[in-house]
């Protein structure tokens, strides 16, 4: 597997972030070491939603322009996105259990929206896997990509209404702290490095998709 300069830079950036977060960022007063998962959780969430936003944009652009490169990009962004979404959904409950006292909260808008993002990603990938014809696969995934983007605001609204009508206390939920500069810097570094990682992954995945499509076209021609 060819490792490009982007892969190296992104990899180093993420390692650097983890080192900085673990050893060179102060402990948060109330949560202690558990808070440090924040520097993985938050950037993963940012990338998860960025990836899906780009899937939706690429899907709309594909239906308009019918350029297969847009479809390949959407395919790549979706597969990378589902990984980052899974990271969010794993790190979230891991952190929440000691801090909130519960693994999950159905009245938390962001948690549930992320869960539905994951559902849509997975159904997008399964849909693609169930269609062999490239043109139909591209069209159908594009439709799902756009509709999925429309769904997320409705999930957001449903959970928000549910939460306001049934207020439920979470034991020991800390209010959003204002971060001191050192933590803010670490957060900013982590956001940047995870975004670089996203682009590195998407680029590799895109290259794989390109080579796969070229090989299939070749095989079809010589068949």
């Amino acid at each position: 597997m060819k490792i490009s300069w982007l892969d190296t830079v992104a990899g180093l950036a993420v390692v650097g972030t983890v080192v900085r977060a673990a050893f060179f960022t102060p402990l948060e007063a109330k949560q202690g070491a558990a808070q440090k998962i924040f520097y993985i959780h938050v950037p993963s969430a940012w990338v998860a939603f960025l990836a899906f936003g780009l899937v939706a944009v690429a899907s709309a652009a594909f239906l308009w322009l019918r350029d297969p490169r847009l479809d390949r990009f959407a395919e790549s962004s979706a597969e990378v996105g589902v990984i980052f979404t899974s990271v969010v959904l794993i790190t979230g409950p891991l952190w929440a259990k000691p801090i909130w006292g519960a693994y999950w909260a159905w009245w938390d808008v962001r948690l549930v929206s992320t869960l539905f993002l994951w559902f849509i990603y997975v159904s997008y990938i399964v849909l693609r896997g169930a269609i062999d014809a490239p043109e139909m696969r591209a069209r159908y995934s594009a439709v799902l990509g756009i509709l999925g983007a429309l769904l997320i605001p409705f999930i957001h609204l449903s959970v928000y209404l549910f939460a306001t009508m049934h207020p439920m206390p979470i034991v020991g939920k800390p209010s959003a702290p204002s971060l001191p500069n050192e933590m803010l810097l670490t957060l900013f570094i982590s956001l940047t490095s995870f975004t670089l990682l996203y682009f590195a992954f998407v680029r590799s995945r895109y290259r794989y998709a390109f080579e796969r499509d070229a090989a299939l076209a070749n095989a079809a021609q010589h068949a």
Partner: protein, 226 residues
């Protein structure tokens, strides 16, 4: 606009005529819903949870799944002998085909609701009183949303390898706002709260319907070959 709607109505009548001949999908959906009511009752301890608190959730979960049974059939009938090609060759717009299918599905879901809701009231001893009318409005709004999304995904799923697995997988995440809205609104009504308190949920259902009926009608032509 008028032409689109009258063509849609024609297509809906065709689908309903086909279904009415055998009524097999309809009867399966009704039996599924009724059995669901039975099983759900025995799944809970009636002394721990009042049945009137359970009823809204039970009703809407059942409608979601029995709706999927009918939706799958919606484009399934067109797959035999490539019947869909006949529809596509006829001088009706793609949008009318979608709306016609959706209307037929709406009639199907509404018919299942017409049987299941009274069954629920009887089996669970619900105090229906004067909430019947708002309940019908909720049921209709929710059915429209279910059918809009379900018809589109049915059109897509039927062309894939895993059609029966794919339709629920695609549609269920989209059904959730409808189920949440309908359940919460129904619960408010059944516990005797004034209709205005269910207002926010009804607005959610209405907004969902408007957005997704439009989006799915516009998306449908993209699921067809050029």
């Amino acid at each position: 606009m008028g032409k689109t709607l009258s063509a849609a109505w024609l297509i809906a009548r065709k689908d309903l005529a086909i279904e009415f001949r055998t009524r097999s999908a309809f009867l399966s959906a009704v039996v599924f819903a009724l059995l669901g009511l039975v099983v759900f009752y025995y799944a809970w301890d009636p002394t721990a949870v009042a049945v009137v608190d359970l009823a809204p959730g039970v009703l809407w979960i059942i409608f979601t799944f029995s709706g999927l049974l009918g939706l799958h059939r919606s484009f399934g009938v067109e797959a035999t002998d490539h019947a869909i090609d006949g529809l596509l060759a006829s001088p009706v717009s793609r949008h009318s085909i979608f709306l016609g299918k959706a209307l037929a599905n709406l009639a199907f879901v509404a018919a299942v609701q017409l049987i299941t809701i009274p069954a629920l009231v009887i089996f669970y001893n619900l105090p229906l009183g004067d909430v019947a009318a708002p309940l019908i409005v909720i049921a209709l709004l929710a059915a429209i949303g279910l059918v809009a999304v379900g018809t589109l995904f049915s059109a897509m799923a039927v062309n894939t390898r895993l059609a029966e697995l794919l339709l629920p997988m695609l549609a269920l995440p989209f059904f959730v706002p409808i189920v949440i809205g309908a359940t919460q609104a129904t619960a408010k009504l059944l516990s005797g709260r004034p209709v205005a308190e269910a207002g926010a949920w009804l607005k959610l259902l209405l907004a969902f319907d408007i957005v997704f009926v439009a989006a799915c009608t516009l998306a449908y032509p993209f699921t067809l070959e050029e």
